[in-house]
């Protein structure tokens, strides 16, 4: 259902994240839709409130207060008696309230297959790609005795199980044997015993009837297409979609107050507008950008509990999304440390800090997830952690972003035998046009320069790549808003949401520190010129404003290349942005930081100073 500007003059949209509930106000002003005010409050899924709607009320209350200040109108009000007034009547009420939600935390899965390195790995890939934590992979050939497997299944208490095994027409016996083990274990779901554990069967279709006979009475059995219909063909899509559906039904619904929230979200005629999962809303927006501009895009949304990476690659606009369920900046911050290891975080910190102090700081953020870094040193540390969370999430994404048309991936037979190193990614940083960041730590970095630094250090873009950020974190809101007004969503997206930060130029290859790496000559629109023979291991930031274009002549030296065609010389237009054009000669494939600590800190400070990432006093 779409409404026009006569019906929609004031809209409140919220995103209920696992840490913070973000509310924005969208208004029809002077013939266009604009995002005017933003408010936020802690998400209230904790005791004693246990009700997500309380956070919505608090965030909306902040919107009301700020709106009254902005418009100097003390009568403005969006809610009465703790509920939205819809439709708007003058100063009172709004025409629509829409929301997204990602409160609910991670998805824990167990997967099974016949051969661990083949169907087992395919099942694991599908589960990971759908955002799950894979608690265990159980396969016929995994060397454990059957009774050990049963014990393990019983202990795990996953949110759901994905069973794969056998190509179509292949083994029935081994697949059914695995089902017998699952049935024998009689597993119970992690959250509550009021429903049966969902088990998705995505194996040999010839075994379907036997699987039904074995499992249907014990679990909530869902049968979908074989994940590995042929040895050389992987078909993850249907299983992934089923996992997503079940995730929404069984995990997100656990967020307390969710049922009430579903009654609140409605348009001007009181028709319900379904709550959209945050990643789905952001995914909508990413695909729209790629298609509208005809470009390849990578987007990331880093939240408190999870980090989602989206990509659209190749001419067919193949869209991939991964949810790294345990990488995030508050609830999951401690897991970033556990996954990346302390040295990987410390390599981004330009000062010395005691390990124990850093560990305690990270754990304190985990147990009090809504706090904000007030000290500069803590901000630097959080941004170092963010780089690692983003890097790990992107690595997971690269591994799983695959596909031909739809979600199907063709492999030749030789690849099929080396599964653990397989999974040719379609993510190609050299052809990537645009990298978009979203989520609190990127959208609310006190300086946009910090956002540029985090995106470059975490994703290591190659060649020429534009960088952008969701201005105040509103892509989820716009994703769901487009369900009732594509016009409002598009207008606000272009005018208020997308902030172009600039362009990163990063030659790919090895170089020697201090030796010439890149000759760059830039002619800026204001007539200024930049010309330098930049040595290897440096960063340069050239101011070039939003909407401006610099005419650039670039020449890479040594073994360095500038684009997918391995060109070493380019004459090209580089787009500016809020931050400017970054020339990064630190090398790619490999990108390496100095190993020795003092040397590394010196380099970090040099780069951070050049990028104007932090105030000078912390870089002295």
């Amino acid at each position: 259902m779409q409404y026009d500007e006569k019906r929609l003059t004031r809209i409140v949209a919220t995103d209920c994240g696992s840490t913070t509930t973000k509310a924005i106000l969208i208004e029809w002003i002077d013939g266009e839709y604009r995002q005017t005010i933003r408010g936020e409050a802690p998400t209230t899924v904790e005791a004693p409130l246990n009700d997500v709607t309380k956070g919505v009320i608090n965030a909306t209350q902040e919107l009301e207060e700020l709106a009254r200040l902005k418009y100097k109108n003390p009568n403005l009000k969006f809610m009465e008696d703790g509920e939205f007034v819809i439709p708007r009547k003058g100063d009172i009420g709004v025409d629509a309230y829409v929301s997204t939600s990602s409160a609910g935390g991670g998805l824990q899965m167990m997967v099974t297959g016949v051969v661990a390195a083949m169907t087992g790995e395919s099942a694991e890939r599908a589960a990971l790609g759908a955002g799950a934590i894979v608690m265990d992979l159980i396969a016929s050939n995994d060397k454990r005795m059957n009774h050990q497997k049963i014990e393990r299944i019983r202990q795990l208490r996953p949110d759901m199980i994905l069973m794969a095994g056998g190509e179509d027409g292949g083994t029935v016996k081994h697949v059914v044997e695995m089902a017998e083990l699952v049935a024998g274990a009689d597993p119970k779901p992690r959250l509550g015993s009021s429903y049966k554990l969902p088990v998705i069967y995505a194996g040999n279709k010839d075994a379907t009837n036997e699987i039904k006979n074995t499992l249907a009475s014990k679990v909530d059995l869902i049968v979908t297409d074989n994940i590995r219909p042929k040895l050389e063909q992987e078909n993850l899509g249907p299983a992934r979609d089923k996992i997503h559906d079940l995730f929404m039904e069984h995990v997100m619904q656990q967020a307390p107050g969710y049922n009430k929230l579903m009654e609140w979200t409605k348009g001007p005629d009181h028709q319900a507008v379904p709550i959209m999962p945050t990643p789905a809303a952001v995914g909508n927006i990413m695909q729209t950008i790629a298609k509208d501009e005809n470009i390849e895009v990578v987007g990331v949304d880093i939240g408190g509990a999870t980090t989602d990476v989206f990509s659209v690659f190749t001419e067919e606009y193949i869209f991939n999304r991964t949810v790294s369920a345990n990488l995030g900046m508050s609830y999951s911050i401690s897991n970033v440390l556990a996954s990346s290891g302390l040295p990987n975080i410390m390599r981004w910190v330009p000062f010395d800090i005691n390990e124990s102090e850093l560990r305690n700081m990270i754990k304190n953020k985990m147990i009090r997830p809504t706090t904000i870094p007030s000290l500069l040193e803590e901000l630097v540390l959080e941004q170092a952690i963010a780089k690692e969370a983003l890097r790990l999430a992107f690595e997971q994404h690269k591994e799983f972003a695959s596909g031909l048309k739809g979600m199907q991936r063709q492999r030749d037979i030789s690849e099929a035998f080396s599964q653990s190193t397989s999974g040719a990614t379609i993510v190609n940083l050299m052809t990537l046009n645009l990298l978009v960041g979203s989520g609190g730590v990127l959208s609310h970095a006190p300086r946009r320069n910090q956002t540029v630094m985090m995106l470059i250090d975490a994703f290591l873009p190659e060649g020429i790549t534009r960088l952008a950020v969701d201005s105040i974190f509103m892509m989820p809101h716009l994703g769901v808003l487009s369900e009732i007004s594509a016009k409002a969503a598009t207008e606000v997206f272009r005018k208020d949401c997308m902030v172009y930060l600039g362009t990163c130029v990063a030659p790919v290859g090895k170089g020697k520190l201090g030796k010439p790496a890149l000759y760059a000559k830039l002619e800026l629109p204001n007539g200024q010129k930049f010309e330098e023979e930049i040595p290897f291991g440096e960063i340069r930031l050239i101011p070039c404003g939003e909407g401006e274009v610099a005419k650039a002549t670039l020449k890479a030296h040594g073994g360095l290349i500038l684009d997918k065609d391995k060109n070493r010389e380019l004459t090209i237009d580089l787009h500016g942005g809020k931050v400017g054009i970054v020339l990064d000669t630190r090398g790619r494939q490999p990108f390496a930081l100095p190993v020795e600590k003092a040397e590394r800190i010196k380099s970090l400070k040099k780069w951070m100073r050049e990028l104007k990432a932090y105030p000078e006093d912390i870089l002295v």
Binding site: S18, P48, I150, D186, K188, L191, S334, L337, S374
Partner: protein
Amino acid sequence: MGQAYSAGLTVTDSIILRKERILPLKGQVLVKKGLKVKGEDVVAETLLPGKVVPFNLANKLGVTPAQLENYIKIKPGQQITKDTILAENKGLFGLGIFKNEVRSPVDGEVENISAVTGQILLREPRIPVQVKAFIDGIITDVFEDEGVVIENKSAYIQGIFGIGDETTGLLKMLAVTPEDELDAGKIDESCRDKIIVAGAFISYHVIELAVKHGVRAIITGGIDDQDIKKLLGYDIGVAITGHENIGLSIICTEGFGKINMAEKTFNLLKAFDGHKASVHGRTQIRAGVIRPEIIIPLDFNEDELITREASLPILETGTLIRIIRQPHFGRIAKVTALPEELTMVESETLVRILEAEFSDGTTIRIPRANVEVIES
């Protein structure tokens, strides 16, 4: 000016508590509504399915799975004892020569026989599981076959983080002030079966000593993350705890590092020194958040059991707050103003702040997100 809502943990000398005690699987409830129970009393029990013993009967008998039904001697659901004959063939020419029989390795029940794989599943006898009351109180509701609700009046403290499961014991104050770091010399046999209270910190070495002396639980202001890693042998990634088995439970009231226990918490524990308490370290910092609890049951009349509606603590001028992030982590102050405009703090972040005054008269401006309300 105005007011704002803020998160906070409950610390109170009197609260009406309502605890659901539910079986993992349906079973039998052993108590009736209105009965007074002690924390150690079993209120419900059930039998968990026994261990499953799978093996391939067709292979053992030397026949194909499809042929198995000709030789099988048992049916699904049938009770068996060790050595019950599961299947036998008739031997050569049906004369019993080279006759092969397969006997059950366990007592139990036949769960499943598969003609596809030839595998059979035997299930060992069921395992009893009991749910205890955990807190002293009165049964106010019974869910048939599932569990009960117990209510009581308690002094109640919510911790911020913990490890280890439910336990009960008598409180023993070892710290003299909330700033104390617990000294190893204070841990001796008098601490056996007690719930001991440290001040601002307890080190790995002292925790080990407490385990050795049979301490049931430790309540502390702060703890070092590296010590927890040493105790558990792994780094806690996602904060879902309570299942650890290190010999005792730990309830941390403030956070990681050396942090003075909030004075209100400390004084409350001190007032109940020697009283019985029920505690657990279960923490889940995700949707449906669980925080560790310290419950000290009080005497009560049944007509007192009326639970108040939960509300968010309100920040306004005059509210007492505790700072929950650096700088000034752990300090108490009084709110003097709540400016509405966004304000820049040292990290250059633009946030909504509050202004507050310490007891020594110095003032601060900090993000509203970095404080919690101390409810009076």
